[in-house]
């Protein structure tokens, strides 16, 4: 589904991603971990098409298409969804109104009729139940004055509504209380299917107890320096990142 080869990207002339290779197949869950500032959010932003990041090398193929050629909105319409680490506030625009605009533009891109108000509402009701989100929240200004947890839950609600092929969750677990973590994770799990894939960026093993990854990657200094099974996350939880950093540094020194 997603194939990233030797991806390099920089911001304002500073290289951040320095040769990412990643293959994600349909039906899989990949976890990306790594110390602060290693480039996890940058990778997510580059995949979503944020303009500030300049791709200097490499390629990204998504479902047979050159993803880097597409505008951010077309990537979304092709089925790439990013749950933001820091969701953005849009005053005066309700989540409902926002999603109706989004969904209908996506449908139009795919040659489908727009959903009428009744169908849209029933879809909303169904997805609201999935992530146990309060209707009141959805009629408020998008993310404005939302608590940290509400913002994250709202991101997953949006994901549920838009039914993407590839979901990238950037630290969706941070800010969620224990119950919310379970509910949101359950929501994500229910949305999984053999034809969709998920990339979860996280610092903590506890999310991976719920959303069990097929592969765990460690991103460090703009590269994926280690990949392994879900046990790798447990190991990281116990030992921290120092041993990996050391490995990388020795490798560098001997190279």
């Amino acid at each position: 589904m997603l194939s990233i080869k030797n991806l390099h990207a920089s911001i304002e002339g500073t290289p951040i991603l320095k040769g990412i290779n990643l293959q994600v197949n349909a039906g899989e869950v990949h976890a990306i971990m790594g110390p602060n500032g290693s480039g996890k959010s940058t990778l997510a932003s580059v995949l979503a098409g944020r303009e500030e990041y300049e791709v200097t090398q490499g390629e990204v193929i998504f479902q047979g298409k050159d993803l880097l050629e597409l505008s951010p909105e077309d990537r979304a319409r092709e089925g790439v969804f990013l749950a933001f680490q820091y969701p953005i506030e849009i005053p005066g625009v309700s989540t409902t109104n926002f999603l109706r605009t989004a969904l209908n533009q996506i449908r139009e891109y795919r040659g489908q009729e727009p959903l009428d108000a009744v169908k849209f509402l029933s879809l909303m009701k169904e997805k609201m139940a999935l992530v146990e989100i309060d209707q009141k929240l959805l009629s408020r200004s998008l993310n404005e004055g939302f608590s940290g947890g509400e913002k994250k839950r709202n991101e997953i609600f949006q994901m549920a509504m838009l039914e993407p092929k590839l979901s990238i969750l950037d630290e969706t677990d941070s800010g969620l209380d224990i119950d919310a973590l379970r509910i949101v994770s359950n929501g994500v799990n229910k949305l999984k299917s053999p034809s969709t894939a998920t990339i979860v960026v996280t610092h903590y093993q506890r999310l991976l107890d719920y959303i069990v990854p097929d592969v765990v990657h460690v991103l460090y200094q703009g590269r994926i320096v280690k990949s392994g099974s879900k046990e790798l996350a447990l190991e990281l939880e116990q030992k921290g990142y120092d041993w990996i950093k050391e490995e990388v540094d020795t490798a560098k020194a001997t190279a």
Partner: protein
Amino acid sequence: MSKDNQLLEDLTSKEYEHGWSVNYEADEAPAGLNEGIIRWISSKKEEPKWLLEWRLKAFATWQSMAEPSWANVNYPKIDLQALKYYSAPKQSKKPKNLNEVDPELIAIYERLGISLNEQKRLQGIAVDAVLDSVSVATTFKDTLSKLGIVFCSFSEAVKEHPELIKKYLGSVVPIQDNYYAALNSAVFSDGSFCYIPKGVRCPMELSTYFRINAANTGQFERTLIVAEESSYVSYLEGCTAPQRDENQLHAAVVEIYAAAHAEVKYSTVQNWYPGDNEGRGGIYNFVTKRGICAGDYSKISWTQVETGSAVTWKYPSCILKGDHSVGEFYSVAVTNNYQQADTGTKMIHIGKNTKSRIVSKGISAGKSQNSYRGQVQVMKRALHARNFSQCDSLLMGNACGAHTFPYIDIANPTAKVEHEATTSKIGEDQIFYCNQRGIATEDAVALIVNGYAKEVLNQLPMEFAVEAQKLLALTLEGSVG
């Protein structure tokens, strides 16, 4: 579509049977402004002597006045002697069918979702379409007259209700009020008159929409609304669609009188031609709008969505004379390209316990300049007056300007006046967030801007609000990315 056409044709032939032809075509005054022209206009309109004298007095006053220069706008001097002061505007230039209409305009109409029927009417193509509206107005007129409501053109009112016109004309905006008001008083061609008798709640929104005739009468309209004790009316001005106009100067006067416990809601969606993206052409919109809350517990509420005109100079105001009276001003002003807007309000608190509320949302894009100018004045007698003002500016890009000029003038220590102001930019973050959900940049801008203006748009009647939203988006098209 074909159904629409059929309907249109049916209506048309029927209307011709009834002999509804507009008899303006040949009537046109020569260019220039002098006493002779004013006499000519007055006699053409078969006006009574007192009105001619009123016009002449206004003309004399105007001659002694100078064009104001305090507004934050720049434009070449207008040659008032080169203008014609009485004509059937655009009549001669009216396209005969849709094929003759600028395809760009049609494209705009289509994007606005305006039907063919509507397009024809807006273009003033067929007199039939115009008459279509007139007949609608006539139907309503019956309902209205049963309630004693008068809603007609100004000229008609001069003939049918001279005592009301005589009593109220110039009572809120006196002749000498300002340069453009004086000019309007001298040469006004037509406009609307509305009278709501005591205790009557007008059952429908009154709108110039139904009287495209009057709306088109040109540069110098005069509107007078009188709401008697405990009455209510909601009045809509202008077009809900781009009524592109080539006239250069538009100097209208609106006067509202509200007696005790009366409430008047006045909504405008202004979309005159703003000029092209190079700043050529466009309307100079110099309008004087004022209402007086004459009686206790009366209320006047102005809502405006200003998207058009090259230069806008407009300050809908309230004189809060009655005790416990309330004045409100809700405004969205959008400028793009080279547009300039200097708009705001004046709230003059005279009575006790008077309240005013100002919500102004400016949006500037391109190389435009957008100024809010507002005055809150609390007179000595106005015990416990209260005002709340919220003035927000939204900037798009780096080449535009937003300015706020609040004047606060308080002569009574019990007054409570609050002023809040914010300036923000449409964030790249916000646009990217929308993009990431599949929303194209232009639609993202529309969404964000409409969210920003929501508090004002909410004041508009439903249908009007929908059109206003589309207009905001249309005005800002191409301003980002």
